[in-house]
Amino acid sequence: MKIIVCIKQVPDTTEVKIDSKTGTLIREGIPSIINPDDKAGIEAAIQLKEKYDAHITVLCMGPSQAETALKEAYAMGADRVILLSDRAFAGSDTWATSLTLSYAIKKLDYDLIICGRQAIDGDTAQVGPQIAEHLNLPQVSYVTDIEKIDSYLKVKKIFEDGYQIIKIKSPCLITVLKEMNNPRYMTINKIFNICNKQIIENWTINDIDMDANLTGLKASPTQVKKIQTKSVKASGKVHNVEPQEGVKLIIDKLQEKFII
């Protein structure tokens, strides 16, 4: 089985803080990580490999610093890692990003494409399904379990109020949730390999035969019109009082608002 895992390198948004004076994001010192849902995708691919024998290619679109993410993917157990990086891709929205990735994927062999459900910096959950559409593949999103049966996959898809077990034929695309597994650490041997040889393949727009008019900012249907930091709601009073007094304040407030 040939598996492609698409990953994104993201700032660890749980570490992002706002400068309360200027109202801007403090970016310095924010670590970059493999997006958690995508990392679960790498782990899921490795587990499939352990059970059914597979070849895993990890594909990452991003700036050159995303090499770190690919090195980690390799050290976890990916067989081949590709960085898709070109100035022409800059400013791509989800439509252009998914099209670009689909051009790269067309250059590869695959039975299964795994994407993380969504990236923590954008939370759109769009790129996976859009890649599937550009490649005309069946898809199942929100997956937490994958099993291979002959040429089919049996997957578990999560809904708000339950789940479905779905049979899907290869080739196909699934998007996975970080809750599905605990990604393993890098192995020492593989880390050693990273240090000693060039393991990352660098692809540009020329490697994927893509017209530059189809990617990047100008090919993106959506545009950012305005960015603002969130205005904090005017806050009420904070009371540092004895528990009994605190309870009284709460009761008064609830009565004032006719809750009780």
Binding site: E133, Y142, G162, Q164, P221, T229, V238, I250
Partner: protein, 340 residues
């Protein structure tokens, strides 16, 4: 490039599960109604499904629909990506709406990107506010990014329709006052069995009996400050006494103290109850993004510097182990007094 002048009216994709229209769709119809009054357009609603009829259409009209379109097909009884993508795409091709709104549910977030890629237009996910620029006809789609740290307003100026998803609970459903004649148009489905490219082997409901936290009037929410799993009981007792529901921050879901369906925040649910009790929740921005629209926010926290106090209407610095049982007792006493 699309001839954008040919596109008119706002379409709401009406999501139904087992024939029941989802609340988020009604919320979106109300929002669409508000937008359509601004630019004098109509609110179209489209319900693909099986055995969908006038009763469903009436529900859409109650919240502001001007016209309801229905496609019935046994192949649409259960949601699958391809069948729904096909009927929604066909609808858009035929009726050319200027904007299309989807609920940001597991279904909407599976369907909308697929549709947008097929018809080559932009899609903005999880919008928290929608407005229309009357001059350009551009939909101003505002959404949080970077884990809720910033708000970005997105436009889709050169492609139509402009598509966006909105999470449940973000917009408010409002019953319209005027009664209109209900206009329903039944559309044929052109689906064949080949359009079903996955097979659903099993569907399991895990919480059909339970209420969703989005629908609760009062939420008693706990965070890491609870200290231990047993303290959930303190929240529970208060919830029972005041007639509220239990919810929590990501921290206590990750700890396995409550189920993930009860998680409030950027990666959980967006809630706007009448009263939100934040007990032992420090108020990470991701959490605040999911509850700041609550009518009344009461925070209890040991740490006077906790960011939760910045969005609270009433903040009590103190130990929830003491305050919660006292509060529950006090409410009980008050209730007994009232009854007497």
């Amino acid at each position: 490039m699309t001839d954008i002048k040919k596109y008119k009216n706002i379409l709401v994709f009406v999501e139904q599960r087992e024939g029941k229209i989802q609340n988020v769709s009604l919320e979106l119809i109300s929002k669409a109604k508000e937008l359509s009054e601004k630019n004098k357009q109509q609110v179209y609603t489209f319900i693909p499904g099986y055995k969908i009829d006038e009763t469903h259409a009436k529900e859409c009209f109650r919240y502001g629909a001007d016209k309801c379109f229905i496609t019935n097909d046994e192949l649409l009884k259960n949601y699958t990506t391809e069948t729904y993508t096909k009927v929604v795409t066909n609808f858009i091709d035929k009726f050319k709406p200027e904007a299309v709104l989807f609920g940001a549910t597991t279904i909407g977030r599976d369907l909308a990107p697929r549709v947008s890629a097929r018809i080559h237009t932009g899609l903005t996910a999880d919008c928290t506010s929608l407005d229309i620029d009357i001059e350009s006809g551009n939909l101003l789609m505002t959404r949080p990014a970077f884990g809720g740290n910033i708000l970005a307003t997105i436009i889709c100026p050169n492609h139509r329709p402009q598509m966006s998803t909105v999470r449940p609970g973000v917009m408010t459903k409002t019953i319209v006052k005027e009664t209109k004649t209900i206009k329903i148009e039944y559309l044929n489905s052109s689906l064949t069995k080949d359009d079903v490219n996955i097979e659903i082997l099993e569907t399991v409901k895990t919480q059909s009996e339970k209420k969703n936290i989005e629908d609760a009037n009062i939420l008693i929410s706990g965070g890491r400050g609870l200290g231990k799993k047993e303290n959930i009981e303190l929240l529970n007792n208060l919830a029972i006494q005041i007639g509220g529901m239990l919810s929590g921050s990501r921290a206590i879901v990750d700890n396995g103290w409550i189920e993930s369906n009860y998680q409030v925040g950027q990666t959980g649910k967006t809630v706007r109850p009448e009263v939100y009790f934040a007990c032992g929740i420090s108020g990470a921005i991701q959490h605040i993004a999911g509850m700041e629209e609550s009518e009344l926010i009461i925070a209890i926290n040991k740490n006077p510097e906790a960011p939760i106090f910045e969005v609270s209407d009433l903040g009590i610095v103190g130990d929830l182990n003491q305050i919660l049982p006292l509060l529950t007792e006090e409410l009980k006493t008050l209730k007994l007094k009232k009854e007497a």
